[in-house]
């Protein structure tokens, strides 16, 4: 092992590198797990500096990710986030201060990190992922994602899979994704079309089952049922003309009081203001420590991919997923999640996935069910069979024309074993299913 490379670097006039003494120690020395062909030194350092990297989300995970990447030697970082800063972000989103409340997260975060870490350029975009096209995403070496929305993750995943061109190795963009909830979280690495994608793993992140409407309407038992009743039913009945704003304290107070009164009628204890807010806004507990762990794990993988200083998660045929739990001691489970051969996004030829259905259910019931099925989670589906359009959400004319189908039974619309194609405005892809009658 040699230190002559670092010596030659500083001789070449890059005095700035004294700042990167610790990082360069790793970049200048091979280790027991580095590839035999790996070249330490200048090549590794320059490769890292040249890697343009995109961060999606500037929230709890995003703040950490930006800091970590800047201090890992990345020089050209872009960040996308459409949100503005709320006071409840301040317990963990450490790039924001009280005075920043109301400003765009991506702007404030980028400026802060640029100021602290000299020589790094951070380009913010305050808007939606969906505003950007393939050409935009094509410029990055990889993408690190720290989002709380499953839909946005699925969108970027499908976009990156769609961008892969077999003849152009640069079109394959590694996607590194982190997520947290309370003391739990996960970090995963995806090589689109080569390893298991977000869509392949969708059933590992099943949505919570919704409480049936009839329970809310007639037989509430839990304080949450009363809050959901106020939220979904009472508001519609009594304040139809006012758009519910989850951030308006007057609106939350109204819902809280409604829920409390209903709870009293049914002798149900436990409705509180905080619980009302939690249910209505679907609040997920979030703390700095879990964000730090998951974000750093993602950035560690990004750093290893960019530098080859050590083996990384996600290499085909190896582990690609780290699950983390911290409420009872510390537990991680690192494993290989395998590709689903019938994944609607990344399988070759986009094969139709077999789906068991009851031929007696109506099309409406079938579509409602799609929203909740862990492997589908499609909320605004439009559907057509091989023969005809079954239901379209838009345009208005087609919606009206296909609406009568909603009350028809599946058996009236398709044959056993027939393929249907489903699209959803949230995804740049088509989901194909083969309907098998039960």
């Amino acid at each position: 092992m040699t230190d002559t490379l670092s010596a030659s670097l500083s001789e070449s006039g890059d005095t700035q590198r004294t700042r990167w003494k610790y990082l360069d120690t790793i970049l200048n020395r091979p280790g027991p797990f580095t590839d035999e062909e790996w070249l330490p030194g200048v090549m590794a350092i320059e490769g890292l500096s040249r890697s343009k990297i995109l961060v999606i989300g500037a929230g709890g995970l995003g703040c950490e990710i930006l800091k970590n990447l800047a201090l890992s030697g990345f020089k050209d970082i872009h960040v996308i986030d459409m949100d503005t800063i709320d006071v409840s972000n301040l317990n963990r989103q450490f790039l924001f201060r009280h005075a920043d409340v109301g400003s765009y997260k991506a702007d404030v975060a980028a400026k802060f990190v640029e100021k602290r870490v000299k020589g790094v350029k951070i380009t913010p975009y305050c808007g939606k992922l969906q505003d950007k096209d393939e050409e935009y995403y094509m410029q990055f070496a990889m993408i690190v994602c720290g989002l709380d929305s499953i839909e946005a993750r699925r969108w970027i995943n499908a976009t990156l899979v769609g961008m892969v061109d077999e003849d152009n190795p640069d079109s394959m963009k590694p996607l590194i994704d982190g997520g947290t909830e309370g003391f739990k979280g996960q970090a995963r690495v995806i090589f689109p079309t080569m390893t298991s994608c977000i869509e392949c793993q969708l059933d590992m992140h099943a949505p919570r089952a919704a409480v049936p409407l009839c329970t809310l309407a007639t037989i509430p038992r839990q304080p949450q049922h009363c809050i959901e009743w106020a939220h979904i039913i009472a508001w519609e009945e009594e304040r139809k003309d006012i758009t519910l704003d989850n951030d308006d304290p007057e609106h939350i107070t109204w819902l809280y009081q409604k829920a409390l009164k209903r709870a009293q009628e049914f002798n149900i204890p436990g409705v509180t203001y905080s619980m009302t807010q939690g249910v209505v806004k679907n609040i997920i507990p979030a703390i700095a420590s879990t964000n730090a762990i998951v974000a750093a794990s993602c950035c560690n993988e990004a750093f290893k991919i960019a530098t080859n200083t050590n083996p990384f998660l996600g290499f085909p045929g190896t582990n690609n997923y780290m699950m983390y739990t911290g409420d009872e001691s510390v537990y991680t489970y690192t494993f290989e999640h395998e590709r689903k051969p019938d994944c609607p996004v990344c399988s070759e030829g986009n094969l139709a996935r077999p789906l068991q259905v009851d031929p007696k259910v109506t099309l409406q019931e079938f579509l409602d069910d799609l929203a909740e099925r862990p492997e589908a989670q499609l909320k605004k589906p439009s559907i057509r069979s091989e023969a005809k359009s079954l239901y379209y959400q838009t345009p208005v004319g087609l919606e009206e024309q296909t609406r009568p189908n909603l009350s028809k039974k599946l058996s009236e619309l398709v044959e056993d074993g027939e393929e249907v194609a489903i699209t959803d405005p949230a995804f740049p892809t088509q989901f194909k299913y083969k309907l098998i009658f039960k």
Binding site: L71, G278, T290, A292, L313
Partner: protein, 563 residues
């Protein structure tokens, strides 16, 4: 609007800021955080300690103090987020303290720039701190004195390594560290007492299943599943000499009986309450026997002999132990999972459980008051603490804290009562025990090497000559491993020995490769883990690491070892 309850006070500014964490540890946890004063004794590149503090300042600890005599250098700016150019040449303790304070105006920050060697010799230097974090490298005699202080003052001490792609931390907790509020997973741990029902619960079941077969479809589909299971249990007992299903086979047979009792002529082709009953059979038909670790708490010397000044945990535990001896069960926890039922029936069922829980609690409280009188205790334990304890009695935890290894130059490391079990895990395929040993060897190197002849800063392996140092540290690590195998009288065959030695060599080489450098990502990750454990220890909620955690950033894995 006039018929609505009066408007409430909305959340306070503090509740708004801390909303996302209060949902985890509540107001009592937050108060505990605010009462804490955490000391960081910083060294080396100094990143992991600050990343740990960052995650504690954000959620609002009361005070922190940074002891660090280092002066900010150019190299700090490439790895430490809390330093910038204008701090060059100043004290690292001062500037990192100020940057951290900016994160949360509710938190008070302090710093000490005096070298740790002399600072620690002052009497009462450590007196005001409720928890101490110390990062490697540190001289063994200093670590020993901190460990002695932690043992005497009964305060938690964390020792953290962060080197290249690897990290480690050990926690030295007081010898008895009990936790009541462990936050068990409610879905898997609900205790419904179906095999030990009390008369009121049986009455409820009888009432709700009266004429079950003749009930209307609507009524039949709304019988709470607890009543269904109790009803079918009674039927089963009649045919099985009064015995409930005993084993897996019988439970599956019982489940089948319940499943068949569902009506299938409904629109949905089944009944949700029966589905719930069927799903609950395997997990609910277990005798409500406390776990071994809970029974161990009842047998602990602190529990058996309650004294005038015993912590209230032991007084309550003693009383619950008496309850258990008398009835063979713990007090009923009193919560009922949601289930398909009419509102009134569900509330009635909730009350059946709650009344029993209150009755059991009252009995426990009576023994506590008796104990308090006989032990001549000055203050009464608050009823709400007894209630919380009874509710979670099946999931209380006791961590037996102990000092971690402090590697002394030229001394063999002793594994004591842990030798056998750790020696056995040494050869597990994914074991990170070899990585822990590599860290001990790293410390041994530090203990025996100085940067200069003056005995100043310790020298870490790999700073200048990674090859030579690797060889040295591998040699030390091999010896530590051999001593462990010997002390644990473990049988490690030649092949296994060669495999583990090769792993040791790899871990050591990778550690030494870093030459003591911290990688920001690994420091941030380890700071996340350590701060999470600090929060658990301070709030006395959830279950902390007992007592050592190692992280391998090459393969992205952790392991917890009790040493």
């Amino acid at each position: 609007m006039s018929d609505l309850p009066p408007p409430v006070q909305g959340p306070t500014a503090k509740e708004k800021k801390y909303d996302r964490q209060l949902r985890l540890w509540g107001a009592t946890g937050q108060i505990a955080l605010e009462d804490s004063h955490i000391l960081l004794i910083n060294s080396g590149p100094g990143v992991v300690g600050l990343e740990t503090l960052k995650n504690l300042v954000l959620p609002g600890i009361g005070n922190f103090t940074i002891q660090d005599s280092a002066v900010v250098s150019e190299a700090d700016l490439g790895v430490n987020f809390f330093l910038e150019e204008e701090h060059l040449g100043g004290y690292r303790a001062e500037h990192t303290c100020n940057s951290l304070k900016e994160l949360n105006p509710d938190v008070q920050g302090h710093f000490v720039t005096e070298p740790v060697e002399s600072w620690l010799t002052q009497p009462d230097a450590l007196k005001q701190y409720t928890l101490i974090l110390v990062t490697a490298p540190i001289r063994p005699e200093l670590l020993t004195s901190l460990s002695t202080h932690a043992s005497a003052a009964l305060i938690p001490l964390f020792y953290i390594h962060c080197v290249g792609f690897y990290s480690h931390f050990s926690i030295h907790l007081p010898p008895a560290f009990p936790i009541v509020d462990t936050h068990p997973d409610l879905e898997t741990t609900t205790d419904l007492r179906l095999l030990k029902p009390w008369p009121e619960l049986l009455d409820f079941a009888t009432e709700k299943t009266q004429g079950l077969d003749t009930l209307s479809a609507e009524d039949h589909g709304h019988v709470p599943y607890i009543a269904l299971l109790l009803y079918h249990l009674e039927e089963w007992k009649k045919e099985h000499d009064g015995q409930a299903p005993q084993n897996y086979k019988e439970k599956t047979a019982f489940r089948e009986t319940v499943s068949k009792a569902a009506r299938t002529n409904s629109a949905e082709g089944g009944e949700e309450n029966f589905d719930e009953a069927v799903a609950a059979v395997l997990k609910s038909l277990n005798p409500p026997e406390p776990s071994g670790s809970v029974k161990d708490i009842f047998k602990a010397p602190e529990c058996v002999l309650v004294k005038k000044d015993s912590p209230s945990f032991w007084v309550i535990a003693h009383a619950i132990g008496l309850f258990y001896t008398k009835y063979g069960v713990l007090p009923v926890p009193g919560s009922v999972p949601d289930m398909k039922a009419r509102s009134a029936d569900y509330i009635q069922l909730q009350n059946v459980y709650k009344s029993k829980a209150r009755k059991d609690m009252a009995e426990v409280l009576e023994s506590i008051r008796f104990l308090e009188r006989t032990a001549d205790r000055s203050t009464q334990i608050e009823e709400k603490h007894v209630e919380a304890f009874c509710k979670n009695a099946a999931h209380i935890k006791l961590v037996r804290g102990r000092p971690f290894h402090v590697v002394q130059a030229g001394e063999t490391i002793s594994w004591g009562d842990r030798a056998k079990s750790i020696a056995q895990t040494l050869t597990f395929p994914d074991s990170l025990v070899p990585l822990y040993i590599a860290f001990l060897a790293w410390d041994q190197f530090v203990a025996t090497h100085d940067k200069d002849a003056l005995g100043g800063a310790p020298k870490v392996p790999g700073e200048t000559d990674p090859d030579t140092d690797s060889e040295k540290v591998t040699g030390i690590a091999s010896k530590i491993m051999d001593d462990l195998v010997k002390e644990g009288s473990a049988s490690v065959d030649e092949d296994e020995d060669a495999t583990v030695k090769a792993q040791l060599q790899d871990f050591v080489q990778e550690l030494v490769r870093a030459g003591g450098a911290e990688l920001h990502n690994i420091a941030a990750l380890t700071g996340g883990l350590a701060s999470q454990e600090v929060i658990k220890v301070i709030t006395e909620q959830y279950v902390p690491v007992d007592n050592t955690c190692v992280f391998d950033g090459v393969r992205s894995r952790t392991m917890v070892i009790r040493v």
